[in-house]
Symmetry: C4
Subunit: 322 residues, 4 copies
Amino acid sequence: MTKGFRKIIRQKNAENTGFGNNASGRFINKDGLPNVTRTGVNVFNRLSWYHTMLNLSSFRFISYLVIAYVLINLVFAMIYYMIGVEHLTGIDKSDPVNEFIDVFFFSSQTFTTVGYGRIAPVGFMASLVATFEAFLGLLTFAIATGLFYGRFSRPRAYLRFSDIALIAPFQESAALMFRVAPYKNNALTDADVIVSAAIEVIENGVTKSNFYRLETQLSKINTLALNWTIVHKIDESSPFYGFSEDDFKTTDIELIVQIRAFDEVFSNTVVQRSSYVTGEIVYGARFVPMYYPDKDNLTTVLDLDKINEYQNETLPVSVGNK
Amino acid sequence: MTKGFRKIIRQKNAENTGFGNNASGRFINKDGLPNVTRTGVNVFNRLSWYHTMLNLSSFRFISYLVIAYVLINLVFAMIYYMIGVEHLTGIDKSDPVNEFIDVFFFSSQTFTTVGYGRIAPVGFMASLVATFEAFLGLLTFAIATGLFYGRFSRPRAYLRFSDIALIAPFQESAALMFRVAPYKNNALTDADVIVSAAIEVIENGVTKSNFYRLETQLSKINTLALNWTIVHKIDESSPFYGFSEDDFKTTDIELIVQIRAFDEVFSNTVVQRSSYVTGEIVYGARFVPMYYPDKDNLTTVLDLDKINEYQNETLPVSVGNK
Amino acid sequence: MTKGFRKIIRQKNAENTGFGNNASGRFINKDGLPNVTRTGVNVFNRLSWYHTMLNLSSFRFISYLVIAYVLINLVFAMIYYMIGVEHLTGIDKSDPVNEFIDVFFFSSQTFTTVGYGRIAPVGFMASLVATFEAFLGLLTFAIATGLFYGRFSRPRAYLRFSDIALIAPFQESAALMFRVAPYKNNALTDADVIVSAAIEVIENGVTKSNFYRLETQLSKINTLALNWTIVHKIDESSPFYGFSEDDFKTTDIELIVQIRAFDEVFSNTVVQRSSYVTGEIVYGARFVPMYYPDKDNLTTVLDLDKINEYQNETLPVSVGNK
Amino acid sequence: MTKGFRKIIRQKNAENTGFGNNASGRFINKDGLPNVTRTGVNVFNRLSWYHTMLNLSSFRFISYLVIAYVLINLVFAMIYYMIGVEHLTGIDKSDPVNEFIDVFFFSSQTFTTVGYGRIAPVGFMASLVATFEAFLGLLTFAIATGLFYGRFSRPRAYLRFSDIALIAPFQESAALMFRVAPYKNNALTDADVIVSAAIEVIENGVTKSNFYRLETQLSKINTLALNWTIVHKIDESSPFYGFSEDDFKTTDIELIVQIRAFDEVFSNTVVQRSSYVTGEIVYGARFVPMYYPDKDNLTTVLDLDKINEYQNETLPVSVGNK
């Protein structure tokens, strides 16, 4: 079968994903964010700095804080230096470098409100700047407190998706399968999944993406404590009905997955998304179980390292055609 | 057709907007807040100071903080001055102005808890006031911390609505259209829209506003990453059925729009509202696309500056009458 | 008609309120909280101190903070005093009272981390206690920060209920009505209401409360910006069908009202409850409108002081019996 | 009847709990968390430190904070000691131990930003480390603030489940019953319950767990202020239909309960789960009422100590077989 096969998908193009069918490239990146670039407006209006701060890695976040701290102190040190070191008590006046060093540390002692007092302001201007710097320091740490809290209290699903989706034997036919497992000590309940597929088809000579909702065998589970294998049976109602191994390899397919669950610690609904594109779909394979009873038979062990393990299986040439 | 035409809208006045039909002026302002003034009760009971603080612009918010800081320090400086500068060590007693200046800075060093100690309280009264001021300072910064966090963690949709709605050709008839696009780096999913119309009609000689729910072509989308054009087809079930260009220009119309979506960063539902009144509806026009593939065909570019761009189109004299 | 009339209410006792029918007294207090006392367990397990702190009035909350601050400093002052004032520099050793005063202020300067240094610890024990006190101080203000934020960010509906419910003429019959209005500058949308009635009946000679869900004319509105009059028509499906003025006055009735809305500033669902008992139901009256266009006809004015205003009306002797 | 009886449960194994039927041991622990151990990935990726911090007891949480405080100060004390005590003013240089003690307290005065100034840094290195320590101190207390707030603002249901479930007489047949009561001063409304049962059966010679949803008499209540007795009638649609007393004692049964309610103080949905296994089900008993009117008949008293009280009752040998 040739690539042209795709244009005879009989299912209705019904899914409203929010992507036009002349959008380009992957729709949803592997990390679940849309693959869209924005232009227009200026960059400050285009960025929510709070969203940006929440999405930084811990290392970059801390680095930014340290850099901001040093820069602020440098600026204030220069201001104090210009006002004159004679307006600060206890400065080491042996040479200009030592003066600046002492002024810099006076600034940091003010900004953090540690205020030892070995160096202290005496004139009006130095005192005024110090008054303002201490105030700024407290507000800065107020903001930092909020950012820290925002970062670590941000509800997240902590789900690990299998890197690949499989076309596996299922109920005398085949099914598209992938799996997901919670990898942290959070407690997820009432999980549900929505799977959409974008399939590039040629309609009236024009290449465009059509969107389909994929039905899954169990779209809700009560407790998401073990792994969850999501199964889309490839039967007559599936857009993949009649696809051969070659079709799965040559057609531009993108599976968009959204899992929603309730986190009992945060008492909040959390959502995680991911996607699978053509190269990430393995034809003719079956996942290996990833959980087993422990040796005392008292608990169940979930081995997260096995999430991508599968064994090969033989499927009919064209799935769905038994 | 005359203004009186409006009284023969056949659709049932079924929408329960919460506005009586003898309310006056625009119902919903462009920013989405209701156009209602409250009287009665006293003003402090009528204002939620927290809602007020959250809605202030950043500039005004910071200004209020600085003003409060200066005022509090002035008040405490006066108290210390009345207690007597002899109860503070290290005061510059050359003249009353210098005394007050030093007392003011002692106050700020106490309020911010920087406490250099160059100036320090010695008597009972000065120490007592300083004890209270340091306590007040910490509580004030505790409140400021909460306000900062409340302000920047407040979930918002960050949607930009087109300034105008269009009456555009659609499926051999016409449709009322407007569009909306997310302009920040937040990730919105599961968006839905509700559109109501308030149309001023003359019933039994009395002018009143009737409310209608407008059906839209796609009222839900999975991912709100690109722009979303909301389309209300003007067919027999629409209250605008049979409206001429003149009707759209002379009738008092208000479209009330509410978009609700799930923000995946905040894990929270966000809502944004806006409205369009008669002068903001352009008859006979079509929106120009505002997204396109990038030059490498790897991602989609959304140009926010194009959100209001449209081109003129010819429509039948009375929309809905094909 | 006698009190015994109540036993022939034909509607099914279908509402599951969570109150048994041998509960006693008012079910829901006017402020919306259940009228239940808990015993058993010890009092600390029975109280959520955080819920308690959030429900305190601002005055009591601040008072508790101040009292805690003074007590903590007294305790630490005593510890430092016992360790010996010779382990603190700068103490006024003129007499024991002055010593204790200085020690007390040293404690407060440590607890608030203001640390002027005029008084400072020198020995091991005094330094150790100061080290611990400063740590405790910071944690205490950390908790205070959380409590302040928790208190003012707590989502609330800020709704004012009319003090009384009316039995008013409605559509050639009668209806039970009460009204509610938002009194602060919050923005509520998508409001809905649930009204239940507890009616004391005599069944098989036993007095018990039966619970009924009351149908309302409009149980949802889009925008809760003006007042909302909630109307329960007394027709054949109402448990009040056939009630005379006397029945309304002598039967033990309790209306339990729950309003739920979405606050667009908090992006959160808020709920407020209230109740009306027999003495709070006025037979034969109609609410006076409480909003009107402003003098320029550009906005609508909501007069909160009118929420309880009504005028008397004549009703048939037994409502529902036209 | 023998254990083999269990294999002829006629109800369909329809409940999708998220546990495979070859999971092992109790599924849900008494505290509501899944009985699952995770392996693979490294331990830091497997733990959400924030979830861990929120689940610590108050005692352990405070202990960890104190230990961290002491350790950090020890580390900084060593750094200052290595830099040299001559770079700190005011150090007691009588012997190395006193030197280290003073350096340790200087560290704590810096970390807490109390900064008395009796000991203060003079050289470049000592000042630099102090600058960094004060900064670290403020960030640490920023994080502590967030953790405190996260811990006490975490929405929880505060429900107490009866330790045992009963098989009690009910409507001429029998029912499985357990009860739950709110034990704190929170206000829960709109509660609902989901009960599942895992029953170990022998199918084709293999022992496996089947999952069933249990229907309950009232699965929703408006106000969860008194106790709530959850009743699953054992009729023909129940998987326990035909179970004898012996069956209840010898079959591996696990009841998984999830209660969800709306907390009006937090304006948040809260969930609590628990489970009952075979040994926690009492055959032939009835709960004793746990609430009663107070002596003035003005309020209802809920006695939490009675939650597990029951009296024995006689049931037919095999419940469901009238």
